[in-house]
C-alpha cells in the first residue's frame, strides 16, 4: 500500500497566470464585474447622481429588505425549493406590527420580537407541508402567498395603519450616531468602514496562508492583492461618501451583519454544508445520515423569520402599513438569487452571488427611475437582464 503522506504526492504547485485564473474563475467574478459595469453606466448617464451620498443612502434603504430576503431565499433555492410567499409575508408582518403598535399599544421591542416569531411560524407552517408531506414547495408557497395576502387585507381592514412610534421608525430611517462628534462629517461611519476593511483583509490573508500551506491552488499573489485593495478602496470610498451625508443607516449595519453571518453559515458550518448536499443529491444526503426533512423544514423557518424582518423594515421605512405592501417582492428576491448564479435545480449558489444579484436589480431600479424611465419599460429591461444573466451562466457552465 501507499505509505507516502498526502503532502508528498500533492500535485506540483502550478504558477497560474492572471488571465488563466480569471478565465477559470470567471463565474466567481463575472457577476461582480457586471454590477460594477452597470453602476458605472448609470453613474455616467445620470451625470453622477447615482453615487451621490443621498442617493447611495436611498439605494441601501430601498434594497435592504430585498437583500435580507435573498439570504433566506438562497438557502431555500440551494435546498432545491422555492418560496413564492415572501412578498405576502412582508405585507402581513408589516400589518401585524402596525396593529400591535398603533391599535393595541405594544411597545416597539415587544412588537419586533413577536413579529419575527410570527414570521418563523409562518415559515414553519409552510415548511411542514414541503418537508414532511412532500407537497411541492411551489404549490405550498403559492397557497401561502394567497392566504397571507388575504389575511393582510383582513387584518388591516383594507386601510393603511400608521404612523409608528419614533423608536420603531429608527429601524429604517435611523443612522448610527457619531460617537466622535464630527460636524457635518460622520467619523464613526469612516471608522466602521476602516474596521471592516481591516477584518476582511485579515481573514483573506489568513485563509490564503492556510491555502498555501496545504498547496491548494490559489489566485496569483498580484491578483489577490489587487482584489483586496480594490475591495478596501470601494468600502472606504463608500463609507466616506456616506459620512459626508448622515452616516451609516441602521439598516445597512443589520444587512452587513446578516450577510457576513449567512456567508459564514453557508461556507463554514455543518448545517450549511448539509443544505448544499441536500440540494445537490437528496437521496445521497439522506443515505449519508443527513436529516433531510428537518433541514428542509428549517430552511423554510429561516426564510419566514427573514421575511418577517424585511416586513418590519419595509413598514418602518414607509412609516405606515398598507394592504399592498410587499406586492411582487418575491419576484425581485428570486430574480436576485438566480442572477447571482444559483441553480434552479438546487445544490449551487452563493451568498455573495445573491447579494450582488440583489444590488444589480436595485441599481437598475434606482438608475432607471432617476433617468425617468417609466415603470413599464423598467420591467421589460429587468426581465431581459434576468434572462441574459442566467443564460450566460448556463452557457458558461456548459463550456
Amino acid at each position: 500500500m501507499d505509505t507516502r503522506t498526502a503532502d508528498e504526492i500533492q500535485v506540483p504547485q502550478q504558477k497560474t497566470s492572471w488571465m488563466e485564473f480569471v478565465k477559470t474563475h470567471f463565474r466567481d467574478y463575472g457577476m461582480l464585474l457586471s454590477l460594477l459595469v452597470i453602476m458605472l453606466f448609470f453613474q455616467v448617464v445620470t451625470d453622477g447622481t447615482l453615487l451621490r451620498p443621498l442617493n447611495l443612502t436611498n439605494l441601501v434603504l430601498q434594497n435592504s429588505y430585498i437583500v435580507i430576503m435573498a439570504l433566506g431565499m438562497l438557502l431555500v433555492i440551494v435546498a432545491g425549493h422555492i418560496d413564492l410567499s415572501v412578498g405576502s409575508i412582508v405585507g402581513f408582518v408589516g400589518g401585524l406590527a402596525a396593529m400591535m403598535m398603533v391599535r393595541w399599544g405594544f411597545d416597539p421591542v415587544t412588537t419586533t420580537i413577536a413579529c419575527l416569531i410570527v414570521g418563523g411560524m409562518i415559515g414553519a407552517a409552510q415548511g411542514y407541508w414541503v418537508a414532511y408531506f412532500k407537497v411541492p414547495s411551489f404549490i405550498v408557497t403559492l397557497a401561502g402567498m394567497l392566504v397571507f395576502k388575504g389575511l393582510t387585507l383582513a387584518l388591516l381592514g383594507g386601510m393603511s395603519v400608521g404612523p409608528f412610534p419614533v423608536g420603531f421608525q429608527r429601524l429604517s430611517s435611523g443612522f448610527i450616531p457619531d460617537v466622535f462628534g464630527g460636524q457635518g462629517f460622520n467619523y464613526t461611519a469612516l471608522f466602521l468602514g476602516a474596521a471592516s476593511v481591516a477584518a476582511i483583509i485579515y481573514f483573506s490573508f489568513r485563509s490564503r496562508a492556510n491555502q498555501l500551506k496545504h498547496a491548494v491552488e490559489t489566485a496569483p499573489f498580484g491578483l489577490f492583492l489587487f482584489k483586496n485593495a480594490l475591495l478596501a478602496v470601494l468600502v472606504v470610498a463608500f463609507c466616506y461618501l456616506m459620512a459626508t451625508y448622515r452616516g451609516l443607516p441602521n439598516v445597512l449595519v443589520i444587512m452587513a451583519v446578516l450577510i457576513a453571518l449567512y456567508a459564514f453559515v453557508t461556507n463554514r458550518t455543518t448545517i450549511g454544508r448539509r443544505i448544499y448536499a441536500l440540494g445537490g443529491n437528496e437521496k445521497a444526503a439522506k443515505l449519508s445520515g443527513i436529516k433531510t426533512e428537518r433541514l428542509t423544514f428549517l430552511t423554510f423557518v429561516n426564510m419566514g423569520v427573514l421575511a418577517g424582518l424585511a416586513g418590519l423594515i419595509f413598514a418602518a421605512r414607509l412609516n405606515t402599513a398598507t394592504p399592498k405592501a410587499g406586492l411582487g417582492f418575491e419576484l425581485d428576491v428570486i430574480a436576485a438569487v438566480f442572477i447571482g448564479g444559483a441553480s434552479a435545480t438546487g445544490g449551487v449558489g452563493k451568498v455573495t452571488g445573491a447579494v450582488i444579484g440583489a444590488f444589480v436589480m436595485g441599481v437598475m431600479n434606482n438608475g432607471m427611475s432617476i433617468l425617468g424611465i417609466g415603470i413599464d419599460y423598467q420591467q421589460v429591461i429587468k426581465g431581459l437582464v434576468l434572462l441574459a444573466a442566467v443564460s450566460l451562466d448556463v452557457y458558461n457552465r456548459k463550456k
Binding site: H214, K283, L287, G289, V348
Partner: protein
Amino acid sequence: MNAILEMRGITKTFPGVKALDNVNITVKAGEIHALVGENGAGKSTLMKVLSGVYPHGSYSGEIHYDGQERRFSGIADSEKLGIIIIHQELALVPLLSIAENIFLGNEQAQYGVIDWSAAFAKTRELLKLVGLKESPDELITNLGVGKQQLVEIAKALSKKVKLLILDEPTASLNEKDSDALLNLLLRFKEQGISSILISHKLNEISKVADSITVLRDGGTVETLDCRGEAVSEDRIIRGMVGRTMEDRYPKREPKIGETIFQVENWSAHHPLHKHVQVVKNVNLNIRRGEIVGIAGLMGAGRTEFAMSLFGRSYGQNISGRVTLHGKEIDVSTVEKAVSNGIAYATEDRKTYGLVLAEDIRKNVTLAHLEGVSSNFVIDDIKELAVANDYRAKMRIRSPSVFQETVNLSGGNQQKVVLSKWLFSDPEILILDEPTRGIDVGAKYEIYTIINRLADAGKGVLMISSEMPELLGMCDRIYVMNEGSLIAELDIAEASQEKIMHAIVKSGRR
C-alpha cells in the same frame, strides 16, 4: 429447418473491455431458443447488438436474419423487420392507458389525429391474444407486473413480430404468471413466431426451450439441443460457470475473531405494497476480520435487505434485532446506524452515493462532518487534510481534492464513496456491488482496500452478483433468493455450482 437468425463471429469491445468475443448463435425458425449465462456474460450486450442499439460498425461480425445480411443502424430498423425486445425493466408509461402504451410511437393516426376507436379495437384483439381481459383504457399503473409484461408482449405483437426476445421475463413474476407467460411462448411457437428467452430459471428453460446457447465471459461456450434428449440442469450449470479462476484477487490471510455483528429475524415489506414481504426472516452474523458475502440473482432482495438494515432506508413494517459486540443497537435512522458503527456503500453510486456537483473533499466528509468540525463550524484545513489523506490512501486519480466528482471515472467515484464511509469509522461495512461497472485494474485496488479493512478487524458484508468475485474475496457466503437466506457456505466448500444449485432448487421448491 431454416435458420431465421444467424449471428456470426460477433465481437464488441468497450474501452478497455471485450464484452463479446467471437460469439456465434443460430436461431431456427419457429423455435424457442434459450440464452443463458452469468450476470456479465454478455447476454444483454449480444441482444443490443442484434436489435441495433449498438449500430452496425460499432461491432465486428455478421448478422443474417430472414435470409439476408442485415446492418441495423438503430432499434427502428430491427423493429421494422419484426425483431422485438422486451427488456427486464419494462418500458411502459405508468399513467397512460394500455391502448396508449401499445401504440406509443406507432399511433393509429391520420395527419397526426389519433383514431381512438381503431386503436381500441386493435388493442382489444391484441389483449385477447395474450389472454388479458382488461379494458384497453385501464391505466398501466393499475396492473400487476405479470400483466404489464403481457401488455409489453401485446405491444410487440402489434408490430408484426417475427423474432421475440425476452430478457428475464419471469424474474419478477410469481409461478402462476410465469406459467401463463411460458404457455404463451409455446402458443406463439405454433404460430411460427421464434423467440429468444434469456433466463436464470433453468427449470423454466428445460420446460420450453428447443435449444440453449451458453455464454460465458463474452464468448459462446456451446449450444445444446433439447429436442433429442432432455438436458439436465447440472449440465447447463457446468457450461455456465465452468471456468478456472484466475488470480484476479489479492491474497489475504484471514485473521478471524469472535462474532461481532448479528442480525436476527430481519424482515421488511415493500414500501408501497405492505402485504408483500421482500426480506424474510434473515439471520446472519459477521465475525471480526471476516469478509462475508451475499450471493444471489438480481432481484433476490439483497439490496433491499441491506438498505432496510441501514436506517430503514427501504421498505416498511421492518422488524428484527441487530447486535454489535453483544449489545443491541438502534439502526432506525441512517444517522443512528452510522453513529452505531454501520456503513453502507450503495450499489448505485451516482444516485445514492455521491453529490456529483460537489468536489471530492466535500463528498468524503459528508457522512461524518463531526470529524472535521467543532461546534458546527467546519475546520476547512482539517477537512482538506482528511480529504488529501484519503485521496492518497485510496489512490483516487484526480488533479486535486477540489475536482468535482461528476468528472471522475467509475472506479475513482467508487473510491470516493468508500472514503466517505471509511472516514465515518464503521465497525461493519456493507458493500453493495462494490465493483459494478469498474474496470479490472480498479477492481483489484478496491479488493485490496476491502482486504485491508478486514485485516484492521472490521466486519465486511459484501453483496455481489459476480460469483467469482465473492468466491475470490469472501470467507463465508450466504445465498439469498426471494428475500430469504437459503444457504450458508464456508469458502472451503463453496463453488459456483453449489450456489447456483441452491438458487435453482429454492426457486423450484
